[in-house]
Amino acid sequence: MARTYRRPKTLLPVSTHYCAGCGHGIVHRLLAEIIEERGIRDRTVALAPVGCAVIAYDYIDVDFSEAAHGRTPAVATGIKRALPDHVVFCYQGDGDLAAIGTAEMIHAANRGENFTIVFVNNAVYGMTSGQMAPTTPVNMVTATTPRGRNPANEGCPIRVCELLSSLERTVFLARGCVTSPKNIRQVKKYLLKALDVQEKRLGFSLVEILSPCPTYWRMMPTDAMAHIDNEMTKTFPLGVVKDISAEVGT
């Protein structure tokens, strides 16, 4: 029988530190798969964020740089400008990208930096134990919104793809989730598309991935997956938010 499923070599054969039911492992695997399938391991540089995925370099076998909290797109700018033929991925969470790193995100996008942000949106700060994130849905209870996120006090969740879509040099912005094999395959297609945009030097690309945090959502892993499908996607609709690669690519 043909073997159709195996570990990509770029994904190291180690146990991760992620909690049961966490989505980071799935996203790591997808990145490792596309790095291997496209044969780009030897010219890929990835950036690890401050947050749960900070030691992603222990799992994904490519050159890596850490970045200070939120500064990931600035560090990536320095790397990509110095290595324009390399593939650069920023792996970022919601707090890193859309709170402390908002300025770095917007301006890297606005300059049309030729790298890809892989934005794992699980709507909470995981590493610091479940505080409100800029993407926390309204009414969600977190360590810092014990009565639920109240728009009158905390504002409403930021939709990063939509926010960035008005900037002329953002080329590909899409949102997927990791709740089913079908959705995971869709995320992979988005990542491959973003990689194409980067390789053709068309400009900035970002793939947002709705991902479960059962630990700080206080849910069973299966319930957390259902929560993304049934609730989170109401705030963050799935799909391609912007794709002008055909126009700018000609």
């Binding site: 030897d42 540089v45 050159d63 560090v75």
Partner: protein
């Protein structure tokens, strides 16, 4: 090879020197009194085949340097005092990740938004690390436009040699004024290969990681101890200062940068006391052995700064109570008057 003499501002000379030293990645953000440096880079970096980006903030600029340095490239950013405060986060990360980067601080009055007059109020910040954690950065203190250029060039070598951020600490006066300057590259040093740089894990080499996170118990202690060993080597090898007329002096002035030039005027004018001068060229490592040597020979010291008194603490630490240490300073803009230096020196010589 030394260039011809040209008339140029300190800020522009610093930019020109960086390009001569092989810097091809400059990231800046506007702030007075260093704007001519950023504008120089915007004009000339593309001609040199390099990258200039006006960043969205000083935070972004220093982190762009972090990224370019992580790939092994020579990189620089510059700012003035409030902007340097913002860069401290990145400097701390560079120090821990052992990334060479050159940072120019054209100091202005502080604290806070302060003013845009020349000042030397950032000495503590520059020489004590400046950001969080146990680290130091090499600090070079030029006193002329030509020396500003020379120190920028040398800063790149020192940064690469020790894998550490190097600060060039100038002030608004040095940045803004024009002087004739030659551009003389530093004597060549043997520099280590950058076998840590991110270039893609090609040809079967193991992946490389640029990191400043050491979570395992004891790992950070071990790493910071290694940093301290490196700093001990720098303290041993790199302290530098200029000594003028110390042998004959009753009072030895201690001053750096623009203050040192004022002290040279004071020395020429002095009638009531024989004055000498120690001018530190490196503020960290501080040339404490030189200061101690003259203290042991019975000299009295007068520290002159464009601050409320910062380097004076290093002089007192070096003197270890062996000699009186007086201070004349003017904080937050402008410089002490020569007359004040002369009066204090005369009183010190008598007393």
């Amino acid at each position: 090879m030394t260039s011809e003499r040209i008339l140029i501002t300190g800020n522009e000379a610093a930019g020109k020197a960086a390009i001569l030293a092989g810097c091809r990645f400059y990231f800046g953000y506007p702030i007075t009194p260093q704007n001519e440096l950023t504008a120089y880079m915007a004009a000339h970096m593309p001609e040199a085949g390099g990258t200039f980006i006006q960043a969205e903030s000083e935070l972004a600029a220093i982190n762009m340097c972090f990224g370019a340095s992580a790939t092994g490239q020579r990189t620089m950013t510059s700012s003035g005092s409030p902007g340097i405060s913002l860069k401290q986060e990145g400097i701390s990360y560079c120090a821990c990740a052992q990334l060479p980067v050159v940072v120019v601080n054209v100091m202005r009055g502080g604290p806070g938004l302060g003013n845009i007059e020349p000042s030397q109020g950032d000495y503590f910040q520059a020489t004590r690390g400046g950001g969080h954690g146990d680290y130091r950065t090499i600090v070079l203190a030029p006193a002329s436009v030509e020396e500003f250029a020379a120190f920028v060039m040398e800063a790149f070598d020192l940064a690469d040699l020790y894998r550490t951020p190097v600060l060039v600490l100038a002030d608004g006066q040095l940045g803004q004024m024009m002087e004739p300057a030659r551009f003389t590259p530093p004597p060549p040093r043997e520099l280590p290969e950058k076998d840590w740089a991110l270039t893609g894990a090609a040809n079967g080499r193991e992946k490389r990681i640029i990191r400043s996170l050491f979570l395992k118990t004891g790992a950070l202690t071990e790493h910071v101890r290694k940093l301290q060993e490196k700093y001990a080597v720098i303290r041993e090898r790199e302290p530098r200062c200029e000594e003028r007329n110390c042998e004959d002096a009753e009072v030895v002035l201690v001053a750096y940068g623009t203050s040192a030039r004022i002290c040279m005027d004071a020395m020429r004018q002095s009638r009531d006391a024989r004055l000498g001068l120690i001018r530190p060229l490196t503020l960290w490592p501080f040339p404490e052995k030189t200061v101690r040597k003259w203290a042991e020979r019975g000299k009295k010291f007068l520290v002159v700064e464009m601050s409320a008194g910062q380097m004076v603490e290093d002089v007192r630490l070096a003197v270890e109570g062996r000699a009186p240490v007086a201070f004349v300073g003017r904080p937050a803009g402008g410089a002490p008057a020569t007359s004040e230096i002369l009066e204090t020196a005369a009183a010190l010589a008598k007393g």
